[in-house]
């Protein structure tokens, strides 16, 4: 089959010849983006949590010094990885590690590592902000019933912070889906690399990248919808059921006051 003359025909041709390559490329893009975002979130949470550990004058001097050093190192990590392009980091880490330390990492390891460490740096700031944005009253309420700092974080603060930063996590995933294309510089055969190969071989840049654009958009759009649905699920229903079978029963129990509103806001 030879190359058709018209645009749509060419697209059809590319799809029939290279469809599986495009799909494999898209699959790799998604795999790197999702794994990188997940690990990045874990790193971000760890760093963000450490950065918000309260230290006061009453704490032991050793603890204060140790925490100070750890926080400093984490700050450097965050600033360096936020402040340099991921493409440069990819070259630096992948080729640098083998040239300087003789450490030849596999290309997959490099891909996951670079995206994770990058996302981690961004998420650390987001998580820190998310934690600080929770009303201090929540912490006091938890302390007042005897929860320790760790219990307070796990049961009260982090679930609320996580909910608040969900849109940011989604944002990061979408950015990662798009930005994995910079990994082509170290030879990761993801969607962009695949497309470039197809386009160059047949000199069909317009058609090949049309296909790539559509795939990228479908991937990001689907992810953003799924995340939005998940957010709504986390919020729970707007209404609640009164836990009584008699709907006319007086709901306030022991005293009378005007009828309770069923919902607010």
């Amino acid at each position: 089959m030879s190359m058709p003359e018209d645009f749509l025909g060419r697209i059809g041709y590319l799809l029939s010849e290279y469809g599986p390559s495009f799909l494999t490329g898209a699959g790799k893009t998604m795999l790197i983006a999702i794994v990188g975002t997940l690990i990045g979130c874990l790193i971000g949470f760890a760093v963000g949590i450490i950065q918000t550990i309260p230290v006061g004058k009453e704490d032991h001097i050793g603890k204060r010094v140790l925490l100070g050093i750890i926080k400093l190192i984490l700050n450097i990590y965050v600033e360096v990885f936020r402040g340099t392009p991921m493409m440069a980091q990819a070259m630096f880490i992948y080729f640098g590690a083998s040239a300087v330390f003789g450490f030849n990492m596999s290309i997959w390891f490099a891909a996951f590592f670079i995206v994770s460490i990058n996302t981690g740096a961004y998420m650390a700031e987001t998580v820190r902000g998310g934690i600080l944005s929770i009303d201090p009253g929540q912490t006091e309420g938890a302390k007042a019933i005897g929860m320790t700092h760790v219990q307070t974080m796990i049961n009260v603060i982090l679930p609320q912070a996580l909910r608040n930063i969900m849109p940011q996590i989604g944002n990061n995933l979408i950015i990662n889906i798009k930005d994995t294309c910079v990994l082509s510089v170290i030879g990761v055969v993801e969607l962009f690399y695949t497309t470039k190969g197809v386009a160059g071989a047949l000199y069909t840049y317009f058609e090949a990248f049309t296909i790539a654009m559509v795939i990228y958009f479908v991937l990001t759009f689907t992810c953003s919808r799924i995340l939005r649905a998940w957010e709504n699920k986390l919020d729970g229903p707007d209404n609640y059921d009164l836990a009584t079978t008699d709907t006319l029963a007086h709901t306030s129990g022991m005293y009378s006051y005007t009828a309770p509103r069923k919902e607010e806001e």
């Binding site: 006091e140 309420g141 005897g146 609320q160 209404n239 836990a243 005293y255």
Partner: protein, 247 residues
């Protein structure tokens, strides 16, 4: 020894930087006592309560709980707080949990009760404050008075020996104040030891066994409610109360 003091505060002082907020506070709380702390805004009432619950660290002095100084660094603050509850002006209900879970989480995580026991216990106290029908609601779906009643149930579910209230009705609309005060009256009648910071003078007069009047970080006068409200000796107490009686 039922007359042993639950709480004994000795020479308690608290400063934020150079700003001295509490000066040489002394008072005691006996089991079953309802102590109301009254005084002008900024006189240090909240700070005193927060020092008692270790939400603030006293600068000097002692807070003896059954004779043990809990201001001492070696004391486990979390386990002490699980025995002394606190109800806040702004409720501080956990926004990520339903009403029922708000009342269960402390029992499960702190007191290590099993889920079923915790649930039964939480239901009993929610029933008591009239919030049992609302167990599935989230705090944002409740009115202020309802939130505060849940907050009281949450504190009670820990079965504390003493409960601290910091202006529990100040953030409420007038018609909701009554529902919260009714709950607190019931608790007082049942003999729960309470320390209540309040601007509700009629309530303080009716319910308290002991009244503490504070001004500018010191206790100016304390005594039985009949004496404080009926025949205050201190000039500052008289001025403070006359403003309330006029208003």
């Amino acid at each position: 020894m039922s007359q042993e003091n639950i709480l004994e505060i000795r020479h308690l002082s608290k400063a934020f930087g150079k700003h001295v907020v509490l000066r040489d506070i002394d008072f005691t709380v006996k089991p079953g006592n309802v102590t109301c702390i009254i005084g002008a805004s900024g006189s240090g009432k909240s700070t005193l309560l927060r020092c008692i619950n270790l939400l603030e660290t006293p600068t000097s002095g002692e807070v003896l709980y059954h004779g043990v100084n809990i201001a001492d660094r070696k004391v486990n603050a979390a386990s002490y707080r699980s025995r002394v509850g606190m109800v806040f002006q702004n409720f501080n209900l956990f926004n990520n949990m339903t009403v029922l879970n708000n009342c269960m989480v402390g029992q499960i995580k702190v007191l290590k009760k099993d889920k079923e026991t915790a649930r039964k216990n939480a239901m009993a106290y929610l029933e008591k404050v009239g919030m049992a029908p609302y167990i599935n609601a989230k705090p944002r779906q409740l009115s202020g008075g309802q939130k505060q009643r849940v907050a009281i149930a949450r504190a009670l579910a820990m079965e504390p020996e003493m409960l601290l209230f910091d202006e529990p009705t100040s953030a409420l609309d007038p018609q909701m104040v009554g529902e919260v005060l009714t709950v607190m009256r019931t608790l007082a009648q049942e003999g729960l030891t309470m320390i209540i910071v309040t601007h509700e003078m009629a309530f303080a007069r009716d319910v308290s066994s002991h009244v503490v009047f504070m001004a500018n970080g010191v206790i100016e006068e304390e005594g039985e409610p009949e004496q404080i409200f009926g025949a205050p000796e201190n000039q500052l107490t008289r001025e403070f109360l006359s403003r309330f009686i006029q208003g």
